[in-house]
């Protein structure tokens, strides 16, 4: 009897071990096979061909540096100096960077003993240590140079276009214009554009020094020039972040307000009619299942692009999520407290107010605040689709493919915004319902 029992137990145990072993090796094996399938389904071997490393390098270097363009128009002979080559960053008449000298012959000192000279009659001389003196002549649509046939890989030359890349800067020559790009670290013009009188002034001068602009006080003038900076658009960026947070706030709070009464309708304890309960639950499932993406698309047709559309898309999707969470919380309320309130002669509404609400408020607030933080992230994404907020500014800056320092700026702002909302919702939760144990 005991031996048979023992055998059976042993057999059972062995079967159990075998099953565990199978799971232990089977699941990693299945995951590995899946990764192999994905490797080919996503065409990872072909990725190297599609990837553009040059883009990556531009992105990495441009995001923390800026370049100043020195451009000579070869038809008129005019030389312009502009930060990032943008009209908004152009130096005013009569001003130019201090690394450019000379009037008849304009000598541009790129640093590292590399000197570019714009000579009269559209001639250019480029002095690079350890390399011959490059002489170039632009004529009509062609460029003729004294470059040898076997070029180092940092020079590309044809009769239409010559490009020279040095560690200090880049030089391009075409028939129409000669350009020198001088690179500097940092975000130039972040505080003031060149046309502002406060450009180049130190903080101490602005705060305590003499009045710079006769028409305005130093501090008000400086703040207004910074706020209206055309290059970095601080005002628009601040509005965009405000819009994104507004979308998250309106969407989350609106959803909570709508979902609370609906949650009562979907909870078994408060809604005796099966039909009503089932209908509300299906409604929650439906609005959740349609997903924010489709709601955004549909609502953008009715309301046009903007923050309201994003807020409504978040509101509708989250009504479903909140409704589900709230009704589950309502089903788990403690009946004793309601009975206690009822025993004092409370009417149904008073029973809900004093017997039910105090029980579910902590759950509700915790969920609402958690969603407020997560919806800030969603609002960034929805903004990119529907056209509002910081998400839109980020997509636009990436699509123009040149303002990488602005992209870096927006990305840091977005991360700071999300971290702030994370901290803020945690702080508010701590204030309202006490620290989580």
């Amino acid at each position: 009897m005991t031996t048979i029992d023992l055998d059976a137990t042993k057999f059972e145990a062995e079967k159990l071990f075998q099953r565990k072993r199978l799971i232990g090796f089977g699941i990693p094996a299945v995951i590995a096979v899946y990764f192999v399938y994905i490797f080919f389904a996503f065409d990872l071997p072909g990725l190297a061909g599609r990837a553009n490393l040059e883009n990556a390098v531009t992105l990495a270097s441009d995001s923390w540096s800026h370049k100043v363009h020195v451009t000579r128009d070869n038809r008129s002979g005019d030389v312009t100096y502009a930060v990032e080559g943008e009209r908004k960053g152009t130096y005013p008449e009569g001003q130019r960077p201090d690394w450019v000298r000379g009037d008849e012959v304009i000598a541009i000192d790129l640093g590292g003993d590399i000197i570019v000279r714009y000579l009269p009659d559209n001639r250019t001389e480029i002095e690079i240590p350890g390399f011959q003196l490059i002489e170039a002549q632009a004529e009509g649509r062609t460029v003729t140079t004294n470059l040898p046939d076997d070029l180092p890989d940092w020079v590309s030359a044809s009769d239409r276009r010559v490009g020279i890349t040095t560690p200090e800067g880049r030089i391009t020559l075409t028939g129409a214009r000669t350009e020198v790009f001088n690179y500097f670290p940092g975000w130039e013009l972040f505080w003031f554009t060149l046309d502002s009188p406060y450009y180049g002034q130190s903080l101490a001068t602005i705060l305590f020094g003499d009045q710079i602009d006769p028409a305005r006080g130093n501090i008000t003038g400086a703040v207004s020039d910074w706020w209206n900076n055309a290059m970095w658009r601080h005002k628009d960026v601040a509005w965009a972040i405000g819009e994104t947070i507004l979308m998250a706030f309106l969407g989350t709070m609106g959803a909570a307000i709508i979902a609370l009464p609906l949650g009562f309708l979907a909870a078994k304890r408060f809604s005796p009619l099966m039909l009503v309960r089932a209908a509300t639950r299906r409604l929650f499932d439906f609005v959740r299942g349609v997903d924010a993406l489709i709601w955004t698309v549909v609502l953008a047709r009715a309301f046009g692009p903007g923050p309201l559309t994003g807020a409504l898309a978040i509101l509708i999707t989250d009504t479903g999520t909140f409704g589900k969470i709230f009704s589950e919380a309502l089903e788990n309320v403690d009946q004793k407290q309601i009975e206690g309130v009822a025993s004092t002669g409370a009417k149904p509404l008073q029973r809900y107010r004093f017997g039910v609400i105090p029980q579910i408020v902590p759950v509700l607030l915790a969920q609402i605040l958690y969603f407020l933080e997560s919806n800030t992230r969603s609002a960034t994404i929805i903004g990119a689709i529907t056209g509002g907020g910081i998400g839109l500014m980020l997509t636009q800056a990436i699509q123009t493919q040149k303002d990488w320092e602005e992209v870096a700026y927006y990305i840091s702002l977005i991360i700071a915004m999300v971290m702030f909302m994370d901290w803020f919702s945690g702080w508010l939760r701590g204030k309202l319902i006490g620290r989580k144990t």
Partner: protein, 291 residues
Amino acid sequence: MADISLSGAPHQVDGIQASYMAQLQRRRLYGGLTLLIFVVLMVSGFNVADDRNAGGFWEGLHQIGDYPADVLSEAWEKRADLPALIAKYFPALVETINIAAVSTLIGAIGGLFLSLLGTRGLAQWPRLIPLFRRISDFMRAVPEIVIALVLIFVLGGGPVPAMIAIAIHTAGALAKMFSEVSENTDLKAVEGLASTGTTWSQRMLLGVLPQVAPNYVSYTLLRFEINIRASAILGFVGAGGLGYELRNAMAWGPGRFDEAAAIFILLFGTIVFFDQVSSRYRNRLTEGQGQ
């Protein structure tokens, strides 16, 4: 003694009542003020959002149904084509699900390490706990779209940028949820294993993982649901899959609404299906665990 208490009692009760009423009034005042601030914020926020929107709320309200009605009526007219269209977009759906699945898997593995290394009592290098926590906070804070857009620029369109972007965010989000669970693990098993001279990975694998696996799997399934939605949305900004097809179909405008309808149906069906499946399994995994 008794005399004092007798004469003092009514006075005390009055005092208690008065201070209680004062406290109640103060609480009501604060509650009312909070409510007022909240209402003002909501109303003014709504007005600002309404102002900055291209179309107004009240003008647009009656048009909400127009677009779905157009899409549905056109899809209904061409209902014979729908099965073929659904079959046509099925590969895109598979891509969307694949992006979600792979990024969830990679994110869960990353989150597992981040959480174990960032939990007191379990970490291999206790001094680096704050570092790993900051890393996971940071990964959680970066919205998927930021990484996806930058990677699309470098790697070109397709599923890989979306996959990496979602995986990074998932790792951060799961690391936080995982470490909430692993903070409550019973350290006795780990200590027992340590006494036999096991390495850190053996302690984690044999001592911690069996305790936390149900919750970890449950959170991972929840994340998978969220990631399906995220991967559909990222497709809309150029990362492949169903979202990409949806954008193209919508760009065609009227006449191709049947394609948009087919994609809507696929997306809706997928999300509902995975919601139901995962919530059933999650309930089963966390059964009898208090929550």
